[in-house]
Symmetry: C2
Subunit: 339 residues, 2 copies
């Protein structure tokens, strides 16, 4: 069987170890989500008279209790006593403990000692532990939307694809924030046993087998405007906000600062890392998002006008491009809950 294709033959009775790597201050849900998926796969396979395919184990540097981020203690085995076969997979959840340098070092040593055939998967900021172990070099990867730019900065040889829910690159899987671990585990089960089993598990857990749109639809737009220690730019941004309903070509912005368009663009990019055009679009989108939620009775057309989108359709296209969902879907998904 070639490495990194289907681990398990749907008709076989082979057992594949799935190790969940635990450390102090691991995010409880990063662990529980994927675990429940593999457990459900075992249950459903047993129901049709097959062997439970996934041998689920919690492993940590030392046997005993591990404290999760929510304060719950869980029992783990020592990873030194736990051998992973070449058909195994190690899941590395995220959590505040990821930033601990001792954790980084010990996880690195453990992961680097594995045979090359063992697959490694991270959930959320667990990707940083993979990075420290050198496993993301030359790979595509994703992490929680809040930490994507940091992952890219910390591991420049990695191609971070911030909008993915999960990415597989060879034997390395990474996934987006927290609940994306469920999507990741479903994808592994689908790879191993096909669509029907994965879909049954998804329905059982009441999640989608495949989400529409990428993780950025869940995140706030990156606010180019935040925290720039430059009074001139702050003033400019305030002026843009006040004039959002008007067309705002780069020339007009340059005029505001009394600069030529060319020097203004160079200056702006050097200060913010983004172009003025993109910054205006971000401000429009950001304002539209806030208005969609804060003024539930205002029509999307009116919001598009107020934010300077030159028409509802233009706003719709921008939203779909940026979040994979339309303004009305955004309002639906993030608006106040009505019971």
């Amino acid at each position: 069987m070639p490495a990194f294709s289907a681990n398990l033959d749907a008709n076989s009775d082979q057992v594949s170890p799935v190790l969940f790597l635990c450390y102090d201050d691991v995010t409880f849900l990063d662990l529980a989500g994927p675990m429940q998926v593999f457990h459900a796969a075992n249950t459903l396979r047993r129901k049709i008279g097959k062997v439970a395919p996934y041998q689920i184990k919690l492993v940590a540097r030392a046997a005993g209790q591990v404290k999760t981020d929510v304060g719950v203690h869980i029992e783990a085995n020592s990873w030194q006593d736990t051998i992973v076969s070449d058909r195994g997979i190690i899941i590395v959840p995220g959590g505040p403990g990821v930033w601990d340098s001792e954790t980084q070092a010990s996880v690195r040593d453990y992961l680097c000692a594995q045979p090359q055939e063992v697959e490694i998967a991270s959930v959320c900021i667990g990707a940083f532990l993979l990075g420290h172990a050198g496993l993301l070099r030359g790979k595509q990867a994703v992490t929680h939307w809040k930490y994507c730019s940091r992952l890219q900065a910390d591991f420049p040889e990695t191609r971070v694809n911030a909008d993915s829910i999960f990415i597989r690159d060879g034997g390395i899987w990474t996934s987006a924030g927290v609940t994306a671990g469920i999507d990741l585990a479903l994808a592994i089960v689908e790879r191993d046993f096909g669509h029907t089993l994965a879909a049954d598990i998804a329905r059982g857990l009441v999640v989608f087998l495949k989400r529409t749109g990428g993780q950025s639809q869940y995140s706030k737009i990156l606010e180019t405007q935040a925290g720039i220690p430059d009074g001139r730019l702050s003033d400019l941004h305030a002026w843009i906000s006040d004039n959002l309903h008007k067309p705002l070509p780069t020339e007009t912005l340059a005029e505001q600062l009394g600069m030529s368009t060319r020097s203004f663009v160079r200056y702006y990019v050097s200060k913010t890392g983004t172009t003025p055009r993109k910054a205006v679009e971000n401000l429009r989108v950001d304002t539209a998002k806030r208005m969609l939620l804060d003024y539930p009775l205002l029509s999307i057309k009116r919001i598009a006008d107020k934010c300077g989108f030159q028409g509802e359709e233009r706003m719709r296209r921008t939203f779909v491009r940026q979040f994979g969902s339309t303004p009305s879907e955004y309002r639906e998904n993030f608006g106040p809950t009505q019971q």
Copy 2:
């Protein structure tokens, strides 16, 4: 402060106990999902200089380790030693352990001993424990889609609303299957601290604050046709399946069995609990769902024709009514994952 309205004033520094009730074979994710939400609320409130509002505790009949359904052991306090104040909430997760009669009896005694002001919330089939404690009498409630009809049968004085993601009725909250516990917890945080905090938590966990559509979009359509011990009806259903692309008025079906339309309808309803018209619609929808997934390249129009929907728009409307999502969204959400 009136009972069952906002528990916590957004500006107050009051602390509210949130007790997670554990028992053997509790579903790990039923517990972890809501727990992570309340923990995130604590973290975000602390970040803005406020007191962590939720005092999260695991409680069980006896102090010590509790075995969850996935095999992980977690540490719990004894519920006898844990006092819930009148602003508290008790979360009752689901899990295979729900069917244990000793668990049912002990949870009943514990819940019935609580002051009336304490709110009680269930996740997934945890609703059955609330039912056994008599808490669902005269209330609206929901549970996992697979168990809704059983909940209705076991507790006839409850109004089961099978399509909800969660329901609040007075001080009693119930929620749909497994991950709906996250939606439930977000709704409680939104009630307590408003939309912005809940939306921030949802974005942090990479979930939607409000899902579009009810839980039935995640479930298989109830197959009226399954398991009816009546040869004549099985034959009829087979004939319907073969002729699904044609119009199938009730008169035509009655002719197939050589009955008058009136006696046929009476006979059909008595055997299946549903009308022939509804049964035909269910078969059309069920077939369309299978085709959407199994033939990813077939257009929705063609599928609508083959399933006898008389047009794509008619199929779309039926899907939206039944699942809260369109055929193409259904295909997106449940179709094979492409990487």
